[in-house]
């Protein structure tokens, strides 16, 4: 089992989703995972800067990957959009862009070689579900979890490819290893709308509301997601979305790392549960 990773936190883990990072850094040592933050990493473009200047964003991600290669480690991120942007950049570079982009990276005495794979926390946990289960000290028996994948953990399959995008199972496998019960719900593979919350706010609020209602109707105690952007959308905007659509349902929304931390017996404070907007402390 790979135990050491070049860690790409992504921008939101240092800001509005800081609890995701707190929880991840709390659970990693227990799981014998060493996370070495990539020094000088920059924003992956977040599928937004790409709309302005795809070439500049490809250069930035080639540099991010080259920085990880200098560490001699595979890249791990716990943000699904970072995962997609980095993997797509790698596919473009490996698919013929490497030499051209390297002429630009040379201006900073760097080169992309293509040596570091890019993976996610969800995938690493799913691949090591038995080892994860063995570390569980407080099985989440009786907890009903709505495992919300988020688009960029699955789609497009051509770029992510870890599992079927129409019938995935990695998340349920992890939830099961933690002792919790994954509940089926209609909106499990839907989009939270985060990336269009400014330009398409009405639609996005409807999407958010429907996801929460779907999880509530399935009897979930919490929604859990591997993506901090989905978490932010479903948690921070939940009150607004539900008020707008006159729905009473409120469901705590956890980061995957927070759920793992609960099963590893870590206290709520270490997992940053009090940073979640919809009260999640009662789960701790």
């Amino acid at each position: 089992m790979q135990t050491e990773y070049a860690f790409f936190p992504g921008c939101v883990l240092t800001q509005a989703a800081k609890e995701s990072r707190m929880a991840l850094e709390a659970v990693a040592p227990i799981l014998n995972i060493t996370l070495r933050e990539i020094p000088g990493w920059t924003c992956c473009g977040a599928s937004q800067a790409q709309d302005v200047d795809p070439l500049a964003t490809l250069v930035a991600n080639a540099r991010n990957l080259a920085l990880a290669e200098q560490m001699g480690l595979p890249v791990l991120t716990s943000c699904s959009t970072c995962l997609l942007m980095l993997r797509r950049a790698k596919a473009e570079l490996d698919g013929g862009q490497k030499d051209r982009i390297n002429t630009f990276l040379a201006k900073g005495n760097m080169a992309y070689k293509g040596e570091s794979e890019v993976t996610s926390l969800l995938w690493v946990l799913a691949q090591n579900a038995d080892a994860l289960k063995a570390k569980v000290v407080k099985p989440l028996n009786g907890m009903k979890v709505a495992a919300f994948y988020g688009c960029h953990s699955l789609r497009p399959e051509s770029a992510l490819g870890f599992e079927s995008s129409v019938n995935p199972s990695s998340f349920e496998k992890v939830v099961h290893a933690l002792g919790a019960q994954g509940v089926p719900f209609d909106k499990r593979l839907d989009c939270c709308g985060f990336h269009a919350v400014y330009p398409a706010e009405k639609s996005v609020m409807l999407m958010t509301s429907e996801i929460i209602n779907s999880a509530a109707a399935a009897g979930a105690n919490c929604v859990v997601t591997p993506c901090p952007l989905c978490q932010m959308q479903l948690d921070i905007y939940q009150d607004n979305a539900q008020e707008l659509h006159k729905s009473k349902a409120r469901v705590p929304v956890l980061h995957l790392s927070q759920l793992v931390g609960l099963a590893l017996g870590l206290p709520a404070a270490k997992l940053g549960l009090d940073y979640n907007v919809i009260d999640a402390t009662k789960l701790g």
Binding site: W41, D53, F104, C151, M207, Y275
Partner: protein
């Protein structure tokens, strides 16, 4: 035994009907051949559309277990393996009005396609006499998008269309707008870009369903992103969408190299972001936002080198 649960519509009521088939009657067959087999042997009233049977005409898009596929290009064996079950639900494409069983109304989508002028309007240097040629390299830049067979699989799964189709068009419409706007022979990219913006170019939610479901491997999401870049380069920079995208780019290249969430809202919505004051208070109360970040942050280690790399890329792109 395999069971196909088909969502049907007789013009008045929606209902489901199950058809049970022997394993030998689905094994080795495409979904289309299975539907034809049902029509021929069990139920001649079952309606669906199909024509070429070889993934060229785009007429046989349907949903299996809620995910759009081209019926003639999808094998039953593969679906059974994917879902681990030989019971599956076949439904008409979503985000279209159903006419009968698996037959949907294409007229509104075709009307949207008309809006973006899918036919190329040639530059003045071309003429009937001289022709309207392009090099192989110029054609190669748009050939992927020419593969679109307008099957509707992208539109069926588009999460934005499902939420609200009043301010958004079918993803393939944007692909065709990109294709014609980027045709080397086209006179004016904005002839196609402007109606694309009016039709919701900035409202894509990035769900990637279009890219995932296209039987031809086209990514309308990528075409939407590229068309956004194109219309911005042509001066269409007004609005929340362009401002939002630009703020990410500004943070990456001109500021610290990382997103500044406090500035993001201000840059995206300007002074009208005060309408989000309640949200900002929530974030600050929860310790999720530091207002001091409005003053900016130091560039990340190596950012000056990144800027040099990007400048070199821009210079090379100009040449």
């Amino acid at each position: 035994m395999a069971t196909l649960i088909i969502d049907r519509f007789d013009g008045k009521k929606h209902y489901e009907q199950s058809y049970v088939l022997a394993p030998a009657d689905v094994s080795g067959k495409t979904v289309l051949n299975t539907l034809l087999f049902i029509k021929q042997t069990q139920d001649p009233t079952l309606n669906f559309t199909a024509s070429c049977r070889c993934a060229i005409c785009g007429a046989c898009g349907v949903r299996v277990n809620g995910h759009a596929i081209l019926a003639c290009d999808t094998k039953m064996d593969d679906l059974i393996a994917t879902y681990g079950s030989d019971t599956m639900r076949i439904s008409p494409l979503a985000n279209f009005k159903v006419i009968s069983d698996l037959v949907v109304d294409w007229e509104p989508a075709v009307e949207n396609l008309r809006k973006i002028h899918p036919g190329m309007v040639a530059k003045p240097e071309f003429s009937m006499k001289e022709g309207c040629r392009q090099t192989q390299a110029e054609f190669d830049r748009i050939k992927k998008q020419w593969d679109c067979i307008i099957c509707g699989c992208c539109a069926s799964e588009c999460n934005k269309l499902t939420a609200d189709n009043r301010d958004y068009m079918e993803p393939f419409v944007f692909t065709h707008a990109w294709r014609v706007a980027n045709d080397s022979r086209s006179k004016d990219p904005l002839l196609h870009g402007k109606p694309a913006v009016a039709g919701g170019l900035w409202n894509c939610v990035h769900c990637q369903e279009c890219a995932n479901r296209c039987p031809k491997g086209i990514s309308s999401a990528d075409d939407i992103a590229a068309l956004r870049a194109k219309v911005m380069a042509k001066g269409m920079t007004d609005g929340v969408g362009p401002a939002h995208a630009k703020s990410f780019y500004t943070d990456l290249v001109e500021d610290s190299g990382r997103l500044n969430e406090v500035r993001l809202a201000l840059r995206t919505e300007g002074i009208s972001t005060v309408t989000r004051a309640g949200m900002a208070i929530t974030l600050m109360r929860q310790g999720k936002m530091n207002p001091l970040e409005a003053f900016g942050e130091d560039p990340v280690e190596g950012h000056a080198a990144l800027v040099k790399m990007i400048e070199a890329a821009h210079a090379a792109a100009k040449e």
